[in-house]
Amino acid sequence: MIADLGGLLLANACFLAAGAGVAGLAGWWGGPRGLVRSLGVCYLAGLAAFGMVAQLLYVLGASLSRWEVLAVCLVLATGSVRAIRSDPGYRPPLGLWRWVLVAVAAMLALLAVDLWFQPLWAYDSWTFWTPKAHALYALNGLDPGWFGAHDLLNRDYPVLLPAVESATFRFTGFETRLLDIQSLIILIALLAAVVEVAVRLNARRTVLAAVLLSIVFAPSVADQLAAAEADLPVAAFFACAGLCAAVWLEQRRRGALVLAGVLAGGAAATKIEGTVFVIALFLALALAEWRRAAFPLAAGAAALVAGVVPWKIWLAIHHVPEQVTVHRLVSPSLLAGHVGRVPHAAAYMAWKILDPRAWIVLVPVCLLVAILARRHAGRTFWLALGGTALALAGLLIAYWTTPLPFHYHLATSARRIVTGPIFFLAALTPLVARKPTSTSGYPGDP
């Protein structure tokens, strides 16, 4: 298994290289030091970009052997050639208390040990996420017979996560015990991205420390890491896209908006809820910057096209039925008939968000910070609250119109799918709490 871990790390190094290229092309980082402080954003951007390209290639009939995985990552990585020669600019001090970093590192190390011994046991992971990855790996691509199989759960879910897991299987063999470690790497990348953007935008370090500790020590995060499901990756993509969107709002960097689009595309290609999050993010972004609303709306549309359309075409060609239909959302009789679900689902989701056994006090604190910062409310404030509210509203509509047994659907999924809005809000909270006089952490930045 140690050798397999080496293979997993090699695969993830490829995703990181790909992301360095994508982020470098977008002008997110410059110079070797700039790359080091942007590793989190680069990794997640690489995972999203590779996953979307892999999904497209699978739809086109590719098998994605180990060499093809390497080739895709290499092509995406070429964008870093120019960035590595750029000026990294001034590096502001991290300014976090050392004991906070030690506490975060210690908890992550404990989680790593726990995940090392964790079997594949969560229902969604063993019934369809990992079987899909195994099928991509063992059948060398999207076999229409198997992926359209009658008994395959959630056949219409996009295949970014199975494509990523299948790519790691090319390096490790079919080793399912490392999938939890893959989730941990994604979480660490998100934490690094939160720190990077908080430093870049000169956020309050105390609030940053509170958010980092709250995420790492949240029991729900530990539980979800051990489940190897798609909710944590989709939440990480959504939150990181929100961070890049905030950089676009505050610094007018178009490259940041492009990266937000790439990450949002990754979210949409991971899970159906990802599409809800993408719409929420770019709608909130357009409202926060309504004079330039065309840019975020275009970025959001591009993210959905890249993340979802190839997969939708494949589903249509192979007559695979979809759970999400326009009829579900516009049928007055269906909506009126199930309107009683709305208060129940809203109350249940609210409890799952506020439950201290899951998230300690993360969300109430984020909301209180927003209330305290309202006098100096900037665009990021509206992005954070608007994006979170719209994402939750979208999830509420999903429960309202669900074709599954309502109580079963709610009970088995609500605790997981609220992770997206929670991570999004938490990631942006240090930026919301910026002092009114705050300027960029990098003097070279606008």
């Binding site: 011994f117 079997p119 594949l120 229902y123 079987p131 008994d151 395959l152 105390t206 500790l213 020590f217």
Partner: protein, 179 residues
């Protein structure tokens, strides 16, 4: 996590209480350094609460490790079906009955005692019978029935008992569809 107790119990609550007490003492000791600004004060309070919870969160992980490190490699490989109240080897004999290129349909009847097992049975079939393809009963070449008669969903030939009834679990039956 697989091995976390569903309720903290006496030890869990004791660890939580210990964390709260130690943090309260630390906050008292550091009260002169308590920030003045409201947002900073709220963030500091949050940090204190998380630190108070930290021993309990770490205890959960350790409890999980006690369970998962005691599992053998076979137990690990079948943890998913076991969590769904399924016998992981249930469908193993079916592999030698249904040829690899054939299609099959699953049927689960009321004889199966657990709802989770009923729901998860088709997924166990998908995993065990890979790469055979599952279809709707009307299109399948074979029927795999658990707690139900294969003939209830399609006209079938001779019914094979792939696995006999065991405890509260009904027999697993396989039959070829007659076209």
């Amino acid at each position: 996590m697989l091995g976390v107790p569903s309720h903290p119990g006496a030890v869990g609550y004791a660890v939580l209480l210990l964390g709260v007490l130690v943090t309260a003492l630390a906050v008292l000791a550091l009260r002169r350094r308590w920030p003045q600004e409201s947002i900073e004060r709220l963030a500091a309070l949050t940090i204190a609460i998380v630190v108070a919870f930290a021993p309990y969160v770490a205890w959960r992980v350790v409890e999980d490790l006690r369970v998962t490190t005691a599992m053998g490699s076979y137990d690990r490989s079948v943890a998913g079906p076991v969590q769904a109240y399924l016998q992981p080897y249930l469908l193993d004999p079916v592999r030698s009955i249904i040829p690899p290129g054939a299609t099959y349909a699953t049927v689960v009847g009321p004889g199966v005692p657990y709802d989770t097992a009923k729901r998860a049975f088709p997924s166990l079939a998908l995993e065990t019978l890979f790469p055979r393809i599952s279809t709707a009963p009307g299109e399948a070449q074979w029927i795999v029935a658990w707690g139900a008669a294969p003939g209830s969903v399609a006209p079938v030939g001779r019914v094979i008992v792939a696995r006999r009834a065991s405890g509260s679990y009904p027999a697993l039956l396989v039959a070829r569809v007659r076209r």
